[in-house]
Symmetry: C2
Subunit: 663 residues, 2 copies
């Protein structure tokens, strides 16, 4: 055990690296690292199971800095403990373009950054997925291979964000007792004292959701250690409310919002040097202290080696499966299974809603891919997210594959990210497309991180009918397509749905959203194709009889409408082709040649989609005809609504003919 | 006081109208109205201050059905109490196109619908704004004119949504003691028992945020009345956890999720008729019961008349101001004040960030318009939302004009909607544009309702610098523009900022978002114009010297870049005009002629915006040149980032010249 003096010096190394980096960058947040250095030092020196030389060790404890603005705390720890890619130069290049040390921790920038944080509450909400993932993997692979803790450092902002409530209620419900959250209870937010906006008794709040929670002095190493020790033996998740001082050690700014988000300035830092009796120049850590930290960084090496020994000795099948899953690779027969299923669909030609097609595809996928974890934000029967293989995960049985996330779209999406980031699992979860708005901050982070989270969004248009405009997405396809690195799939039938699911599962660096109908749709892909046609994003579904005068582009439920319009137009002597566009993003990635050919040269270009026009001009041009929505929907039956909003084959054909005649 | 028998029969009228309407529509949610009929009956018959013949009476109590899927509860009450536009035919046309009785309550469809609900948690979060609005107006106009309660009926879903935590924490902090929430504690959600996903002790949770909370039998009229009476004399907001049975009275479906969201079917309804001994045919309410309800509907007539008497006798200035504010009309000198301010700006030519321009505009506006209520989600100093006139609203002093909303973007947006809907106030609130994602569900509802909520979104691009991609919006302008009926303003300088604020304040039926920079921008509108040029959405800011070969469209901070590119191109002999596009939505509303003229016929069209391309093709065409972002941003200084992502005058000019040479 480290002496108090040693502890203090080790903690101060974090403090000064943080101050120095923020000062040099002339930008950043010194307050949190200074206030929380004691917590981090106790956690890393006495508890955290990790090996800085093997940062991806599957059974490491996870440390998640939910208060991501305090990124220098994490970067300092990674440097001090000897993570190879976190050099002192990286620390000196804090917040510069191209550095690993971005303003907020960015997943993928450096080892040891378990998730991207910064948008408040996200890390805490991810952690529910991490901790649940650990339990699920533990149930599948046993204590020998999976047995670790998830530690989170959260700030006042994390706890004020609503997503935190969704997260803590879910964690409490699932009794994720290996989840341990430190709350940096420093009473300061950006505007000033937290009391300007909040008087919540956070300990009581967490307790109300089934957590252990208690107050400690967050600057007392023994109190911190005692609390962690107790938390590790609890049957509930634990929140430790750590009383700290933001910017601790800064002579005039400590304990104020001035220490939060700006460099302290030379004078304050000089004062802090005196206060802590710290004589090293900027970015230099005294040799003995660096040695001590480096020893911490490798202190887990034996545990890691032991674990590797256990893995090596494990049953070969179990070992193979564990390694396959951790590598994120699908079972070898995956493509064959999908291909066979597609063949059957093209023969059977089911007329079902794509939400049902999705369930059918999932029935096949969940049978072939044991690592999928399904769920829904309390719309299981509507999202069709549950299959025969996915029974409920409960606090008594983590060895199952379905999560009832409750009415918590945001918490669900964040937990899905956490499950995905944990490794070994492929997580998907459902809600109505309209409520993607609730989940959006986490969906964006999945895109930014480049991870395989999958979002199942049913009831994807006015086609949901009577629930009305509050539940009818009109702008959501456009809004989701606007997010970089996010594949938005809108399949037209059961075959495309299978293809889109195949793509989603194989998309390791891009999250996917599947937009699915409530209403039944015919099979339009009646001819079997081995190739995944949806993979090109858009493809010609029906050719024109002769040189095309008209091309109609459509997605999802409106492909049927497009085919109807084509029939009318062909009948009237206007050769018309139909292009199905299941995924804008993948189409955009095709060669210019393929794009040009697929868009074609027809004199009239039409798009049909029961959403807003935004985004479609890129395909049909500004003079293209758009058949879709121009405002919000309405409450009524689907039979009323499509004609009411003019989204019919007849309306499309009429608009085309008017255009043809005006030429 | 009504006898128990009378109470039961009155409550049953709600139950049967609800069952009948859902059955006839073959769609809807009978479970809540049946379970909560007792609560509603006690509230309306004994407490709610309202006059069905004067539904817009400013001092009425508000009743907000946060669990909006139970819309038939509200529609039944409105019909029974005699609201003129809620006829029995409307009830019979439940969920049909064109009816007032949409699937979920839609603000504006019928009197008595105080806010649009359905997306869960929104009504509860709006109610904080309603209750705060009441206190603010009370502080301004006194007990004689403003003194009413806000009652909310919320379901399990409302309480599971994270936004509920933001709402209750804020309400508790502000001690909104005239806010009274009934929780329909029926233990059932769509997937089944609430225990599938939640074990939160809701009473303890509310208490932790400074509420009174207690459990009652939600079917016992006296218990309900007692709890309301106690709540009305509390110094805190109150949550009454009402134990109910979903679908109460349905013989086999009561108490199960089968009663939640589908028609009960003839057999169950027949069973319920027996259970309640209810002999009237569908849609018929026994005469004595209808009479009793109608009497309730006019029981507030005297109170209303007394209030009108007090208003008539009030000080003429106070009365005039009260009436002006309630009518939502701005002070008569508003336009003149803005015009004068613009004149000064064009002369002074300040070089400031548009967030600062916004503060300067607000300093003028808040001085001229006493009903503005400002705020920020803990980014006051960054959003520049506070002016000399707006001191903090606290639980000790509601007579001020600034709300520290805490780190609660979603709760803030919902509260802004509530403040706006309450009447008499114009509310705005700030956060970073990136975190509009957190607030989006409420921003969408402002658009759907068509109300004057104003969202101040600063740090509107990579220009925010070092905080990095988690904080840098790239898709948010597009995503917000996708929402129907939402004006997204991105002003280029202090003059446009003043104009956009003027438009936002005058936009009574469309909410506004102002996207504002962190970084300084020069004044580009150096020539004073009386006319609000931003009102047309886009306008020629700089003409070409000669017939334009190039038109550059830009918004906000990139207008400066566009002007720089123009200078380079003109120097190279390419006549170039620049069009500033502060608001896509308003531009779309201009005449085809104006649009055509403004877009012009230049051979090369360019758009410059530090966001994604989506939406711009509509102006520049598919072959237009787009200078902007193609993916997420990065952490670095603004001086690094703009060149890094190729958003510079030089890059734009180079791209144009390459195009000109290839022609």
């Amino acid at each position: 055990m480290t002496s108090r003096v040693q502890h203090d010096r080790m903690a101060n190394a974090i403090r000064f690296l943080s101050m120095d980096a923020v000062e040099k960058a002339n930008s950043g947040h010194p307050g949190l690292p200074m206030g929380c250095a004691d917590i981090a030092t106790v956690l890393f020196t006495r508890f955290l199971k990790f090996d800085a030389k093997a940062p991806h060790w599957a059974d490491r404890d996870r440390f998640i800095l939910s208060a991501g603005h305090g990124s220098m705390l994490l970067y300092s720890l990674l440097y001090l403990t000897g993570y190879e890619d976190m050099t002192i130069d990286q620390i000196k290049n804090f917040r510069q373009v191209g550095s690993r040390t971005a303003g907020h921790p960015e997943y993928g920038h450096a080892a040891g950054i378990e998730t991207t944080t910064g948008p408040l509450g996200q890390g805490l909400a991810n952690s529910v997925g991490f901790a649940l993932g650990e339990r699920i993997m533990n149930a599948a692979f046993g204590n020998d291979l999976v047995n670790h803790y998830t530690y989170v450092l959260a700030g006042d902002g994390c706890l004020m964000e609503g997503v935190s409530q969704e997260a803590i209620a879910l964690a409490g419900h699932l009794k994720l007792n290996k989840l341990i959250v430190f709350w940096d209870n420093n009473n300061i937010s950006i505007d000033g004292p937290v009391s300007l906006a909040d008087n919540t008794d956070q300990v009581a709040r967490f307790q109300a959701s089934g957590w252990n929670a208690s107050h400690i002095d967050g600057t007392d190493p023994e109190a911190i250690a005692y609390a962690i020790e107790a938390a590790r033996h609890s049957d509930k998740p634990t929140m430790i409310a750590c009383k700290t001082t933001i910017g601790f050690g800064a002579p005039t700014k400590a304990g104020t919002n001035k220490a939060h988000g700006s460099p302290l300035g030379a004078e304050e830092i000089a004062g802090a040097r005196k206060f802590f009796n710290w004589e090293s120049p900027p970015f230099e850590v005294p040799g003995d202290i660096l040695d001590a930290w480096r020893a911490v960084g490798t202190s887990g090496a034996k545990a890691r080696a032991d674990w590797e020994g256990r893995l090596a000795k494990a049953d070969a099948t179990l070992k193979g499966e564990f390694e396959r899953r951790l590598a994120g690779k699908l079972p070898g027969n995956f493509d064959a299974v999908i291909s066979e299923y597609k063949k059957k669909l093209s023969a059977d030609k089911p007329k079902v809603a794509t939400r049902k097609s999705s369930e059918m595809a999932l029935e096949v996928i969940n049978g072939a891919v044991p690592e999928t974890i399904g769920g829904s934000a309390d719309l299981t029967g509507s999202n069709n997210t549950k299959t025969s293989q996915t029974k409920n995960i409960t606090s008594d049985d983590y060895g199952q594959r379905y999560v009832h996330y409750g009415i918590r779209e945001h918490g669900m999406a964040a937990a899905i990210n956490g499950l995905t980031l944990h490794g070994g699992l492929i997580a998907y979860g459902g809600t109505f497309l309209c409520f993607s708005d609730y989940a959006r901050p986490s969906m964006r982070l999945a895109s930014l991180m480049g991870i395989r989270s999958i979002f199942v969004m049913t009831h994807d248009s006015i086609g949901l009918g009577e629930d009305g405009p509050t539940h009818q997405p009109v702008e959501h396809l456009a809004a989701l397509r606007a997010i970089p690195n996010h594949n938005v799939f809108r399949p037209a039938d059961a075959v495309e749905t299978a293809e889109c699911w195949q793509l989603a599962l194989k998309s390791e660096k891009t999250p996917s959203t599947l937009a699915l109908t409530r209403q039944n749709l015919p099979t339009v892909r009646t001819e079997f194709s081995e190739q995944n046609l949806s993979a090109s994003g858009a493809y010609e579904l029906a050719a024109a009889n002769g040189e095309a005068a008209v091309t109609i582009f459509a997605t999802g439920s409106e492909v049927e409408v497009a085919l109807g319009a084509r029939e009318l137009l062909e009948k009237h002597g206007h050769p018309t082709r139909v292009v199905s566009v299941p995924c804008f993003e993948l189409f955009e990635q095709q060669s210019e040649d393929y794009r040009r050919k697929t868009i074609g040269n027809a004199g009239v270009k039409v798009a049909i989609e029961a959403g807003v026009r935004q985004g479609w001009d890129h395909i049909i041009g500004t003079d293209g005809i758009f058949i879709g929505m121009t405002g919000f929907g309405a409450s009524g039956s689907i039979e009323q609504l499509y004609p009411h909003f003019g989204i019919t084959a007849e309306a499309a054909a009429k608009a085309v003919e008017a255009r043809l005649h005006s030429k």
